[in-house]
């Protein structure tokens, strides 16, 4: 029997190859998209799942007004041996991340951030060693541990074990002995260090009270708990214990987060180390995958119905010669599963092709390996079988339930219930179709708005270099004056902060405990960044107490009071306002502009940024000149820079990625939905062949017939659009709330989306409708 089903399924595939092809293409595309997203979702959900202690490891974080993952280095020493529930603790730190340099063969190179850690890191995070001893390799302050790949890069052809690696910390270089080589750490691990240094090294070189002061939030702390430890109880005990021990001003607000939740559930926790994802993003993409899968299934069902309606005679004959309902259902299921399995194979090939692009968009390094991703492969097969079962099942139930007499009578095989089923499916497709078009238009417009919005300063041609640690103003002044001698360089400025996020953003309260953003800058700050003064004048050299306010700060403090040169602000520490600078966006457009003041103060104390404005058209020359001067003045530091507009691109990367994905999925959904629509209109044309013939013999024109066939779809399309608009308005409003500055959801966006959706649908249906309408009426009536 099964053989007969297979035989007929294959022969039907070949006979109706055009439909089969449309079906397979639609389903393969849909499945491939779903698989790409599923692969990403699997990747995100797989973080730290391989750790043998995954259910016993917790990250300590502060659950205060603002959540923070940075804890005090003193914490673990203070609680040592005091909590029987805690088996092991480990502290991990990451410092000077813009200055992670190594020196080898007289060259200086920037490397991935160094992590500083306690030796327990190997046991807790399950990090395997190729060479060395986990107990001792981080014991010595002079030790360094590197990965195999790092060793291959910097010690090619040699065993790096025992060799010396010179690393930079602060403004000094240190020779460290390689005491262990790490084996390859899976990418889906919370922490993936290239270079590990002992925390003891920090204790040795740090002059500050980093390890003794409860005010320093400087390390990430992980606990490995004993089995069956009560988390809530332990948290309460920990807070009480620290509260009794620490100075009065320190109010402990620790909470414990399971390691398995660190990767995805930490978007509201600041000061994080390692790689992070976002569960909201995973859910959103999961929902998109589900919608695409449903669209592909509806498409499949529609096309299967078209094909089955052409096979009514066969179904009738089978019933007459003794096929029961179940036999017909099995046959239909087998055929649709066969199609979905073929589509699965194509989808898998597409997935392989698309994976590099997906890795680029999702910023991940996802692989496809049968052994490592077995569960993903099983889910892929399950999805394919499910699609086959659902799609085959729905068509089978419709056709197998018909009486054999009906099957031979050429009557309308759709009952009103089935017709409602078809219309509902179609409406769902249309709503999604219109919805995705609206979403992509809104998102694309917002991205255009973001890139085109005037920020109040120049984002182009300004390169920012992080000032080397230990630099002095004297050295910087030499650097700046030499730069200014070159025509390719227009101006140079040094400041504590350059928008959007270069350097340290510090706040200070001048009066009434109201914090203001505080930028320390030299007098060239405004000119280098093209900021405008709206009142008063710029700062001058040696002018203690003089500040510039931004418009927001000025309005907040002085409302509509006109500016006068002798205005003052501040209670204890009075400042003289010499000018008001036009508002500029200190952050990306997710945040409103906050009150801010600029002061020309001792920049020596701060991590600072050097901003160099290059002349238009002379950017390569400008970079080259800056590099040459840098190497002369800062020979031990790497010349590494970033343009402000590049930084913006980085900040908006997630949203740009979302925009790209939505555009891609919209395109995909439109292609799949159009295929389904094409199938349905073909089906209608087949069903109404006789009617078309009669109408034509009675004088109906091609337009009359085409309209007759399209009318139903166009009406359903319009109703669906009306449904899609409020849903999308609501969803897009939510999405736009991410941005403090965003476009308005104007009526024209919806109108344009409707027009696009309507045009695509009309083009799809009219092609087949006109084809049916232009057919010779004799053909359609001949068999009557």
């Amino acid at each position: 029997m099964l053989k007969s089903y297979f035989k007929i399924a294959f022969r039907n595939l070949i006979k109706n190859r055009n439909y089969a092809l449309i079906n397979i293409i639609g389903l393969s595309l849909g499945m491939a998209a779903v698989f790409v997203i599923t692969r990403f979702v699997f990747e995100e959900l797989s973080y730290d799942q391989d750790n043998q202690f995954k259910n016993r490891i917790y990250r300590v974080y502060h659950d205060g007004k603002e959540k923070s993952g940075a804890t005090q280095a003193i914490l673990t020493t203070a609680i040592e041996d005091k909590f029987p529930e805690i088996e092991k603790t480990v502290r991990i730190g990451k410092y000077w991340q813009d200055y992670n340099l190594i020196r080898y063969e007289n060259r200086i190179e920037k490397v991935e951030p160094f992590y500083f850690a306690d030796p327990e890191i190997f046991d807790v995070l399950n990090i395997p060693l190729l060479q060395g001893n986990t107990e001792t390799c981080l014991d010595d302050p002079d030790a360094v541990v590197i990965t195999r790949q790092f060793g291959e890069k910097y010690f090619p052809g040699q065993n790096p074990f025992g060799k010396i690696l010179t690393i930079r910390y602060g403004n000094s270089f240190y020779d460290r002995k390689i005491t262990a080589i790490l084996d390859e750490i899976p990418k889906n691990t919370y922490l993936n260090p290239d270079v590990l240094l002992p925390l003891k090294f920090l204790e040795q070189v740090e002059q500050s009270d980093l390890f003794t002061n409860w005010g320093f939030n400087s390390v990430t702390t992980l606990f490995l708990l004993k089995k069956n430890a009560e988390i809530e109880q332990l948290t309460a005990k920990l807070n009480n214990f620290v509260s009794a021990l620490a100075p009065e001003w320190f109010k402990p607000d620790y909470r414990l987060q399971p390691l398995t939740r660190v990767h995805l559930y930490s978007s509201d926790i600041s000061c994080r180390i390692g790689e992070y994802g976002d569960i909201a993003q995973v859910r959103l993409y999961g929902a998109i995958a589900l919608i695409i899968l449903i669209i592909a299934c509806i498409n499949f069902i529609n096309l299967s119905l078209v094909q089955s309606s052409r096979r009514i005679k066969e179904i009738g004959v089978r019933k007459v010669v003794g096929a029961g309902r179940s036999a017909l259902v099995y046959q239909s299921l087998l055929e649709s599963i066969l199609l979905s399995v073929i589509s699965l194979a194509f989808a898998f090939l597409l997935l392989k092709l698309l994976l590099p692009f997906a890795n680029q968009i999702f910023n991940r390094q996802m692989q496809l390996s049968l052994t490592e991703n077995l569960s993903f492969f099983l889910v892929m097969i399950f999805i394919a079988l499910l699609v086959g079962l659902v799609c085959g099942g729905s068509t089978a139930l419709i056709f197998s339930s018909l009486k054999p007499v009906t099957l031979f009578s050429n009557k309308q095989i759709y009952s009103s219930g089935n017709s409602l089923f078809k219309r509902t499916m179609l409406a769902f497709q249309f709503v999604t179709f219109c919805g995705l078009i609206i979403a992509s238009l809104v998102i694309r417009n917002q991205m255009i708005y973001l890139s085109g919005k005037q920020l109040g300063y120049n984002t182009e041609q300004v390169m920012v270099i992080m000032r080397p640690p230990g630099d002095t103003n004297k050295k910087y002044n030499v650097f700046a004056s030499q730069l200014q001698n070159h025509s390719a360089i227009q101006s140079v400025t040094i400041s504590s902060f350059v928008p959007p996020v270069f350097g340290n953003w510090i706040t200070q309260s001048l009066e009434k405990d109201e914090n203001m953003e505080w930028v320390i800058a030299d007098t060239s700050y405004l000119s280098a960044l093209d900021m405008k003064l709206v009142a008063g004048r710029n700062l001058r050299e040696n002018e203690p107490g003089a500040i510039l306010l931004n418009e927001t700060a000025y309005k907040k403090r002085f409302s509509n009071q006109p500016f006068t040169p002798d205005m003052e602000i501040g209670t204890d520490n009075k400042k003289r306002i010499v000018g008001v600078v036009q508002d500029f966006h200190t952050h990306a457009l997710y945040q409103k502009i906050d009150p801010l003041f600029i002061e020309n103060a001792g920049i020596d104390d701060f991590i600072a940024c050097i901003s160099i404005k290059l002349s238009a058209g002379q950017i390569p020359e400008g970079i080259q000149q800056a590099k040459q001067i840098w190497q002369k003045i800062y020979p031990n530091d790497l010349f590494s820079f970033q343009f402000i507009d590049e930084k913006f691109d980085q900040i908006y990367q997630n949203d740009e990625q979302f925009a790209q994905l939505i555009s891609f999925f919209t395109f995909l959904a439109v292609v799949i939905a159009c295929m389904g629509l094409f199938g349905l209109i073909s089906f209608t044309a087949v069903q109404r062949t006789k009617e078309i013939g009669i109408r034509k013999t009675l004088g109906a024109t091609i337009q009359n017939i085409a309209l007759l066939l399209c009318r139903e779809y166009l009406i359903i399309g319009m109703i669906s659009f009306v449904f899609a608009v409020p849903i999308l308005y609501y969803l897009m409003e939510i999405w736009l709330q991410r941005f403090a500055y965003h476009i308005n959801l104007d009526w024209w966006i919806f109108a344009l989306s409707g027009l696009i959706a309507f045009s695509i649908a009309a083009l799809t249906v009219s092609f087949q409708a006109i084809k049916a309408a232009t057919a010779n009426p004799v053909e359609s009536l001949r068999y009557e």
């Binding site: 029997m1 007969s4 035989k7 007929i8 022969r11 039907n12 006979k15 005679k313 066969e314 009738g316 004959v317 089978r318 019933k319 007459v320 010669v321 003794g322 096929a323 029961g324 309902r325 036999a327 009486k403 054999p404 007499v405 031979f408």
Partner: protein
């Protein structure tokens, strides 16, 4: 073998009620060859559908091989059908995607006949119908007469108690029509009960009884003395 009491079939739509069969009483015994005649729309095919258990009557009784089947569900009808009835249609109704052999084999597959037995039975009937040499062809590759022979072979392969033929010669020229009628007569003589709907008075004469239908009613029943030898 077949007995109907006041068999009716009424088609109802929201506004119109059409009586396709009104109080039909017929009796067909084992071994008979009954022809049913009548003008278009008189209810011949409706009667055949009900007799063939493809459809349920609206009223009355239908006894098939001693069982009252008028209230049978589709599942029960399908079961009864595949064990006892063979069908031959005017338009052959062969499955285009299956070969001649596979078409004839189909009823045996649904009867779950073991493979070796199935092969024997199919080959025997194909030999008998003289289409063995065409066993691997597809229906479109055969002439109308040959296709109808395949359809008869398919109707016969499971050794049904009765063959219902709905205008089996309707799509054939006279020589092929004669050939099919000869086959049906031979089958009847071998003991198979045959009920045939036809428009042709000549072919109706092949039966030993002709039932005339008009407006859903049996108007005459002519018994014949003549038996083909």
């Amino acid at each position: 073998m077949i007995r109907t009491n006041n068999l009716t079939k009424i088609y109802r739509t929201e506004e119109v009620e059409t009586t396709a069969l009104g109080s039909v009483n017929i009796e067909i015994n084992e071994g008979e060859f009954v022809s049913i005649m009548g003008p278009s729309g008189c209810g011949k095919s409706t009667l055949m559908n009900i007799l063939g258990l493809l459809d349920n009557p609206s009223g009355g009784e239908y006894h098939f091989i001693g069982t009252e089947v008028s209230k049978f569900t589709e599942r029960q009808r399908a079961h009864m059908r595949k064990e006892n009835i063979g069908f031959v249609f005017q338009s052959f109704n062969l499955i285009d995607e299956l070969t001649i052999y596979e078409n004839v084999e189909l009823p045996l597959l649904y009867l779950k006949t073991p493979s070796s037995e199935r092969k024997q039975m199919v080959e025997k009937v194909l030999e008998h119908m003289q289409i063995m040499h065409r066993r691997n062809h597809f229906p479109q590759q055969l002439s109308g007469g040959q296709q109808q022979r395949v359809a008869v072979a398919r109707a016969l392969v499971a050794n049904p108690k009765i063959i219902l033929a709905d205008e089996p010669t309707g799509n054939l020229d006279s020589s092929h029509g004669d050939e099919v009628m000869k086959m049906l007569t031979d089958l009847n003589e071998a003991g198979t009960t045959i009920v045939m709907v036809t428009h042709s008075p000549t072919y109706a004469e092949y039966g030993n009884r002709v039932i005339h239908l008009f407006d859903g009613q049996v108007v005459t029943e002519n018994y014949k003395e003549k038996f083909h030898v």
